[in-house]
């Protein structure tokens, strides 16, 4: 199976990932190579097999609904690219 340059651009858009125009062809080639590798999975019959998400098939633990985290807003915002009055700033979204 092979991916085209347009497929790569579409996937990059889904991932909100900027890629250079000159790299699109090499990504298409590499991803196609990976997909070829994955076609081998078709050799194995997996009908009726339960997908495995955790090696010990552990499920999510539950805990009492009590506050365990402290307010660390200032600490976390100290490393943010742009903040003002306790808010994270991004370019204007609504005109």
């Amino acid at each position: 199976m092979s991916l085209t340059a347009d497929d790569v651009k579409k996937i990059a858009h889904l991932a909100r990932l900027g890629i250079e125009q000159q790299d699109v062809a090499s990504y298409a080639k590499d991803l196609s190579g990976m997909l070829d590798l994955m076609t081998q999975m078709g050799d194995l019959d997996t009908n009726g097999v339960e997908p495995m998400a955790h090696p010990m098939d552990q499920v999510q633990r539950l805990r009492a609904d009590i506050v365990t985290e402290q307010d660390n807003r200032e600490k976390f915002q100290a490393i943010a690219p742009q903040v003002e009055a306790g808010l994270y700033l991004v370019p204007k979204v609504i005109e």
Partner: protein, 483 residues
């Protein structure tokens, strides 16, 4: 001083032969002397000396632990409060972690001294340490070759005696493969044994932290500190931590070793195969019996891994968006531009390749064909291991198909690079513990023997490795110029 084991150093610190400040200074000097290896991203000299002073006070008071005052280094994937934590990426070049990983807290509580943060493949994606934003790490055994990856800085630092021991993380072989290529001892614990809290996530269902040391005994000491249940990690497993040191000296008489024929076929370098044969003969002399086993699903581990790991990576790395922390592009025109360019400029090529692959595998219409199919194969691989480990005590095999390859040799061909993880990846899919133990040299470069055990059998693996290290000295050999 730099060739001593943790136990020997602990003794020296207690007898007053040297102080932690002296020991730490000696390692800081070695790090400077050998900075051309590029093993460290950040050296925390002032902090290290401060911690060493505190350790000396604790030692004088007599309430020290085995690791108190011992200089260790952290893979730069573990968050360290107040210290830059880059994960080998421009994306986090300016990231000062606001909290400690649980593993880092545990070393701090034990009184260990942190020398600095070690180089690694960007976001732990790579098998050669060449994808790091901070440049390739050189293998001290031959500086034209790679140390392996992704914990390449950890392996090179321990092999070159630039730290007594180091942490690593292993998603598809990232502790074992560099340990093998640099001739050190590396242990990937059972999934859930070591907390992942504060360990920057790549593929959450596979990632596991572990010790990288010169000997199995040192690995036992390190794991004792690292292991344990953690409320803060939702996949941590609540199983008691045994005393790893107390099992080291058990006899191997009657140990049943299985060798999967799929591990010794085509693709394995003949010099590596011969070295492993000799190592397995040592185990026969120690009283073990060896049988051939077969694990037919092993060959599907690579395709399944390169669906599951990129899928989880694409989800995990979506948090790097230029809004709350990390890299932000200049003058974004709108929010989409902010996301797209910050991510496009902040991530390197291999990371982008895996985000694209994972995004595709999880996209509408392909999820069942790729992700679910891979998770089903994962179960079949894990059942293959279960069957094998009901017949034998441990499985042995190679860690890598060859010894260290040249810097620049494989980086242009990602698929070929992926195939170099062929012997390690299946173990992560199954969640089992496995070690790489120095087993000799082939054409002057180290070869690692892989030992795979059942869930939570780290004590047994360490015992098996330690017994081998009592009758061989491969683990004590230093690369030329680093003795």
């Amino acid at each position: 001083m730099h060739n001593k084991t943790i136990a020997e150093l602990a003794k020296g610190l207690r007898s007053g032969e040297f102080s932690s400040v002296e020991l730490t200074s000696a390692f800081l000097n070695r790090i400077k002397q050998h900075s051309s290896l590029n093993a460290y991203i950040t050296v925390t000299e002032d902090l290290a000396l401060q911690e060493a002073k505190a350790a000396d006070v604790r030692l004088a008071k007599g309430d020290a632990e085995l690791l108190t005052g011992i200089p260790v280094a952290q893979k730069d994937i573990f968050c360290t409060e107040g210290v830059r934590t880059t994960c080998g990426s421009l994306m986090l070049d300016n990231f000062i972690a606001p909290y400690n990983a649980t593993v880092v807290d545990k070393f701090n509580n034990a009184g260990a001294v942190m020398l600095g943060k070690l180089n690694m493949d960007e976001f732990a994606m790579g098998s050669s340490n060449e994808t790091s934003y901070y440049g390739a790490v050189k293998n001290p055994w031959d500086t034209n070759t790679v140390p392996g990856g992704s914990s390449g800085g950890s392996a090179a630092a321990v092999a070159a005696r630039l730290a007594v021991c180091a942490t690593g993380t292993d998603t598809g072989g990232s502790i074992r493969q560099p340990a093998a290529l640099c001739g050190i001892t590396g242990l990937k614990p059972t999934y859930g044994r070591v907390s992942r809290y504060g360990m920057i996530a790549y593929a959450s269902s596979l990632d596991q932290g572990g010790p990288m040391t010169r000997s199995a005994e040192d690995a036992a000491i390190m794991l004792q500190t690292m292991a344990g249940f953690d409320q803060k990690d939702s996949t941590s497993v609540d199983v008691p931590v045994p005393d790893y040191m107390s099992e080291l000296n058990n006899s191997l008489e009657g140990l049943k070793i299985g060798l999967p024929k799929e591990f010794f076929g085509e693709g394995l370098n003949s010099d590596v195969a011969a070295t492993l044969e000799a190592a397995i003969d040592e185990y026969r002399k120690l009283g073990a019996t060896v049988t051939e086993i077969s694990m037919p699903t092993l060959k599907l581990a690579i395709p399944a891994y390169y669906v599951i790991a990129p899928a989880e990576c694409s989800a995990n790395l979506s948090r790097f968006d230029g809004v709350r922390f990390g890299y932000r592009c200049e003058n974004p025109v709108d929010l989409t531009d902010l996301y797209t360019r910050s991510r496009g400029e902040g991530f390197g090529k291999e990371v982008k390749r895996r985000i694209l692959m994972g995004t595709y595998a999880l996209s509408a219409g392909y999820y069942d064909a790729y992700y679910i199919k891979a998770q089903k194969i994962r179960r079949l691989i894990s059942e293959d291991f279960k069957t094998a480990l009901s017949e034998v005590d441990v499985i042995m095999g190679p860690v890598t198909p060859s010894t260290a390859f040249g810097i620049g040799e494989k980086i242009g061909n990602p698929i070929e690079m992926y195939l170099s993880d062929i012997y390690t990846i299946a173990i992560n899919l199954a969640g089992l513990p496995a070690m790489s133990v120095p087993a000799g040299l082939a054409t002057g470069l180290p070869v690692g023997l892989q030992i795979i055990g059942n869930y939570f059998s780290e004590d047994k693996l360490l015992n098996i490795a330690h017994q081998y290290q009592q009758v061989t000295d491969w683990h004590q050999q230093a690369p030329k110029g680093f003795e």
